[in-house]
Amino acid sequence: MIINAPAITLLLVSFLILLIIKVPIAFSLGLSTMVTALYLGIPPMVIGQQMVKGLNSFSLIAIPFFIIAGEIMGEGGISERLIKFSNVIIGRLRGGLAMVNVLASMFFGGISGSSVADTSSIGAIMIPMMEKQGYDKDFSVNVTITSSTQGVIIPPSHNVIIYSLAAGGLSVGRLFLGGFLPGVLLGLALMVLSYAVAVKRNYPKGERFSFKDGLKISLESILGLFTAVIVIGGVTTGIFTATESAAIAAVYAFFITFFVYRDIPIKRMGKILRTSLKTLAMVLAVIATSSAFGYMMAYLKIPALVTETLISISSNKYVILIIVNMILLALGMIMDMAPLILITTPILLPVVTSVGMDPVQFGIVMMLNLGIGLITPPVGSTLFVGCSIAGCKIEDVLKSLMPFYAVMFIMLLLLTFVPQLTLFIPNLIMGQ
């Protein structure tokens, strides 16, 4: 292998400097690629070509559809319904509202793949509600933000689609199914922890519902949750592709929100599209330029170099997987999910597959890992949103957040070292 050390250094160092001086990530990727191409004398047209190539993928079109569907549902009153529904199921226990918070996020995760969207819509209702019933502010925020990371793992998740693209076109259906059990397990673990804290801090029990009310609430919210069924059913049976089922889900969400729920007027669609457009602009910009950056990494054979280096440190599977997780955790503390998935997948996937890890399993491990990054300082968008809703400082919640981090780390270790947790369901439904 021929290694061009100056070019590799130029690419990576210029990228880091640009990141540090707050150049938008998308442009940092583009500019560092540009400088390296000029240095190497590669025709710069290739960068434009690769940016287009990054967007030129049919499965990518699922992302706008999922984001629109999530946005319509979030605006159109699904959050309230999911909270009520969760309340019917689990509210009566001690610390009921905390567990309702987790369960509602689990359901919300079946509609939206965004942890920030979950925290801002479920959290905006739950945090004040919990405080009113005597829960401490820090605990309310802790439960809200940690449980919202389920949305990234539980299908559908647009970050999973980004991973499938970055991994060279892995089956979205398998990845979706693979996230199901880990997402639910994470939710259950958080519920157990919430219960334990609730008992210790003596939080109140929640309300009970009459059978009739309970049934009505359940039916209404199940109608909304059916979007998830369309997506997962469509993708795993092969009746629809991921993209097609995402489009159907968007149309369905539109229909349910404006013709069944009718909480908001149809003219709000303009605002919904505008908000979706903003989210998409961020995500797609990063996808485009990281495609060019990825090209340059491949051209300089950086992924192969990293694999060789890591394997030379240790050939022990467990050591390698721990190192990979530590790299992801460290990066997750300072960077957002989408760019991290796009940049690190081509580098780290060959490493983990070389020690025998399944790419689908690695995808879900990566999702949880970067999900933890969303709730860790110094850069954690979900943590920020949660604190701003509750009106508290980040340092106020950090101390009591530790047990929640612990639960997530244990889940991360389990997912890393027990492949069956991820692979059992996809293998069962879609074959080996």
Binding site: Q49, N56, I61, F240, L280, A281
Partner: protein, 171 residues
């Protein structure tokens, strides 16, 4: 100054509407594709290719709009540690760098469109350069929007103010 601002706002509003139309069009085309395959038992050959072109164009519109609206992700942490006067200088430098990338996209994007005019897309038989058309266009828009920022002409449409404040309350 006012006139420039007006024109820039006009273009960004226009881009926003085009983007929204593209989003709706993609949804309809893909839904039609499912309908056609499941019910009519034929698969329209153009559907995938056209929705892909819409996706690419939409993506590049988003990149340019993101510059105007300042919504691209960046790592603010390190700069926030510096004194405010230094922060200001760095922000200007960032805007110049973004402008530089816009220039790069405009120049080499145009070359790319020219270079790929000779081949075709498989289903529609449109020129392959159709996919690349938005690279130079987006480049030019990035130049305009980042120059506006360098000279302090930020976007402040009423609609935008209303939007952000509303979001703040509702969340």
């Amino acid at each position: 100054m006012k006139a420039i601002k007006k024109i820039l706002n006009l273009t960004s509003n226009l881009l926003e509407y085009i983007g929204m139309i593209f989003l709706v069009a993609m949804t309809l085309i893909v839904s039609y594709q499912v309908f056609s395959r499941q019910i009519l038992n034929t698969s329209p050959r153009w559907a995938e290719e056209v929705s892909l072109i819409l996706m690419i164009w939409f993506g590049f519109i988003g990149i340019a709009l993101g510059v105007r609206k300042g919504i691209h992700l960046s790592i603010e942490y390190f700069v926030s540690l510096l004194p405010p006067s230094l922060q200001k200088i760095i922000i200007k430098l960032d805007q110049v760098l973004v402008c530089g990338f816009g220039l790069f996209c405009a120049v080499y994007g145009a070359k790319l469109v020219k270079a790929t005019g000779g081949s075709t897309l498989p289903a529609t038989q449109w020129p392959a350069s159709t996919s690349y058309l938005m690279v130079p266009v987006c480049g030019v828009m990035i130049i305009c929007y980042s120059l506006a920022q360098i000279f302090g002409i930020e976007e402040t449409t009423e609609e935008n103010n209303e939007l952000t404040s509303k979001e703040g309350v509702e969340l």
